[in-house]
C-alpha cells in the first residue's frame, strides 16, 4: 500500500510538471521554481505534511519537498526565536540537502570531465 501511494502521489506531482511543460511556454527552470514555491505555500497552510503522510517518498523526492524543508525550518525557528527565525531557520532542515549538493557536485566536478 505504501508503494502504491508513493507511486500515485509522486506520479501525480510529476505528471503535473510534465503537463505544465508540454502545454505552456514555461521552461524547465520556471517549472522547478514554481514547484519549490508551491511546496512552500502548501507547507505554510499545513497541507504538505498531509501529503507526506499519504505518499511518503512520493512527496519527499520531487523538488516541491525542497520548499517544504525550507518552510518547515523557518516555521520552527519562528516559533522559537520570533522574527529572527525567518532568517535563521531556512537551512535548519535544508542544510543537509544543500551540503549534499555541494559535496556531490564538487566530487563529480573533480572526478569527471565535461563531454565537450
Amino acid at each position: 500500500m505504501d508503494y502504491l501511494m508513493a507511486f500515485l502521489v509522486g506520479g501525480l506531482i510529476c505528471a503535473l510538471g510534465q503537463l505544465l511543460y508540454d502545454t505552456t511556454k514555461l521552461t524547465m527552470a520556471h517549472v522547478m521554481v514554481l514547484f519549490v514555491v508551491l511546496g512552500s505555500v502548501l507547507t505554510g497552510v499545513g497541507l504538505y505534511d498531509k501529503l507526506l503522510t499519504l505518499g511518503g517518498a512520493g512527496a519527499s523526492v520531487p523538488v516541491s519537498n525542497f520548499g517544504y524543508v525550507l518552510t518547515k525550518g523557518i516555521l520552527s525557528h519562528l516559533q522559537r526565536d520570533g522574527w529572527f527565525g525567518l532568517l535563521s531557520g531556512a537551512f535548519e532542515l535544508a542544510g543537509a540537502a544543500i551540503a549534499a549538493v555541494i559535496l556531490f557536485g564538487f566530487a563529480a566536478a573533480v572526478a569527471f570531465k565535461p563531454k565537450g
Binding site: D22, M28, P114, G116
Partner: protein, 340 residues
C-alpha cells in the same frame, strides 16, 4: 557597364558563376541518414579528436575548405577570396578554421542562410571583376549550437516535437568566373528580414517559412519565371512542419507549386528512425545537402535547374530571453546546367 540588377531584389550573374568543385564533411548521424552516401568525409564521432565541439566545428570547416581546393585542383595561393559563415558567436568556427590559410577572408552571417549569402557575396565579387576564384564554406555543429542557442546539452532538456536537430556538418563550394564548366549559379535573390512574431526558439521552421515564401515570390517576379522553371526548389532548414507552412503561405500568395519542393532539413535525416523531431537545421543542413546530394546528382541529369532557398533564423539567445520574437531571412541562388 552591364546592369546585373534584376527587378527590385535580385541579381543576374549573366553567363553564370561556375561551380567547379564542392566538398562536404558530416557527423556520424548525418552519414547514417538517407543521404549518407552523397557526403565526402564522415567524422567517426562528434568530437573528431578535439577537446570541445567548437574545435570540432572549426576542424570540419577547415577540412571542407582544403578538400574543395583539392577537388578543384587549386592551391590556396590561387584563391582570391574565401567567404565563410557559421552559427557561433563572433563567427568563431570560421576564424579559427581559416587562421592558417593565406587567403583574403570575408566572414558573413545570416544564421542558417550563410551558404547562400556566401555564394551571393562571392558571386558578386567574381562577376564584378574583383576576384576570379573564390571558396565559399560554412559549418554548424549540433552540440556547439545547442548550448549557445538553447540549453547545455548535458542538462537533458526535453525537446518539443517541432524542434529541429542542428546538422553537424560543413559544406564548401569552389567558384570561378568565367565559368569553365556548364554548371553555374546564374541568378540570386537577396532576402529581406521578416518577422511574423514567433517567439519559440524551438519553432524555427514556422519562423522562417514566411521569409522563404517572400524570397521565392520575389525571385519569380524579378526574373518573370514560372515556378516550374526549376526542377527542384530546395529550402534550407524549414523541417517537415516548416515546409508545410511554406506550402500554405505560397498558396495564399497564389503560387501553385507544380514542381518538386523539398527541404534539406527534412531530407537529411530519417525522421522515423532518427530522433530528430521535425528534421535538420543549421548551416550544415543546406550546405551539405546542396554540395553533396544536389551537386552530385546534377551531372547525372536528375535535375537541370535548382533553386536553393537557404533560410536563417536571426535571433540571438539574449533577445529571445528578453521575450523578443525571431526575425528570419532567406537568400536564394538559382543553379543550372548551361546548354552548350
Amino acid at each position: 557597364m552591364t546592369q546585373r540588377k534584376a527587378g527590385k531584389r535580385s541579381i543576374s550573374f549573366g553567363p553564370g558563376v561556375g561551380i567547379t568543385a564542392s566538398s562536404t564533411v558530416v557527423g556520424p548521424m548525418e552519414a547514417a541518414g538517407p543521404l549518407g552516401r552523397y557526403f565526402d568525409t564522415v567524422l567517426p564521432d562528434t568530437k573528431y579528436g578535439e577537446k570541445c565541439w567548437e574545435g570540432t566545428e572549426s576542424k570540419m570547416l577547415k577540412e571542407a575548405c582544403e578538400s574543395v581546393m583539392q577537388n578543384a585542383k587549386a592551391q590556396p595561393e590561387d584563391v582570391d577570396i574565401i567567404v565563410t559563415s557559421d552559427l557561433l558567436n563572433q563567427l568563431t568556427s570560421s576564424s579559427y578554421a581559416v587562421r592558417e590559410m593565406p587567403i583574403n577572408h570575408l566572414g558573413v552571417y545570416s544564421a542558417c542562410a550563410g551558404f547562400a549569402e556566401g555564394v551571393i557575396v562571392a558571386g558578386m565579387a567574381l562577376v564584378g571583376g574583383f576576384a576570379s576564384k573564390a571558396v565559399v564554406a560554412v559549418s554548424s555543429h549540433h552540440d556547439a549550437a545547442e548550448r549557445q542557442y538553447r540549453f547545455p546539452t548535458e542538462l537533458g532538456v526535453q525537446r518539443p516535437p517541432w524542434a529541429q536537430w542542428t546538422v553537424t556538418g560543413a559544406g564548401a563550394a569552389f567558384l570561378e568566373f568565367p565559368a569553365p564548366d556548364p554548371l553555374v549559379v546564374s541568378r540570386a535573390t537577396l532576402g529581406r528580414v521578416v518577422d511574423y512574431g514567433v517567439k519559440d526558439a524551438y519553432d524555427m521552421g514556422a519562423a522562417m517559412a514566411p521569409a522563404a515564401a517572400d524570397t521565392i515570390e520575389a525571385h519569380l517576379q524579378d526574373f518573370g519565371l514560372p515556378i516550374n522553371h526549376y526542377d527542384l526548389i530546395l529550402t534550407g532548414d524549414l523541417g517537415s512542419y516548416g515546409l508545410e507552412v511554406l506550402r500554405e503561405l505560397l498558396a495564399r500568395r497564389g503560387i501553385v507549386v507544380d514542381t518538386q519542393l523539398e527541404d534539406c532539413g527534412a531530407l537529411i535525416y530519417d525522421r522515423n528512425k532518427q530522433d530528430v523531431h521535425s528534421g535538420g537545421s543549421g548551416l550544415g543542413s543546406s550546405a551539405t545537402v546542396f554540395n553533396g546530394y544536389v551537386l552530385k546528382q546534377i551531372p547525372q541529369g536528375r535535375w537541370r535547374k535548382v533553386l536553393l532557398v537557404a533560410t536563417g533564423a536571426l535571433h540571438s539567445p539574449v533577445r529571445v530571453k528578453q521575450s523578443e520574437s525571431i526575425p528570419s531571412v532567406a537568400h536564394a541562388i538559382g543553379v543550372e546546367v548551361k546548354e552548350s
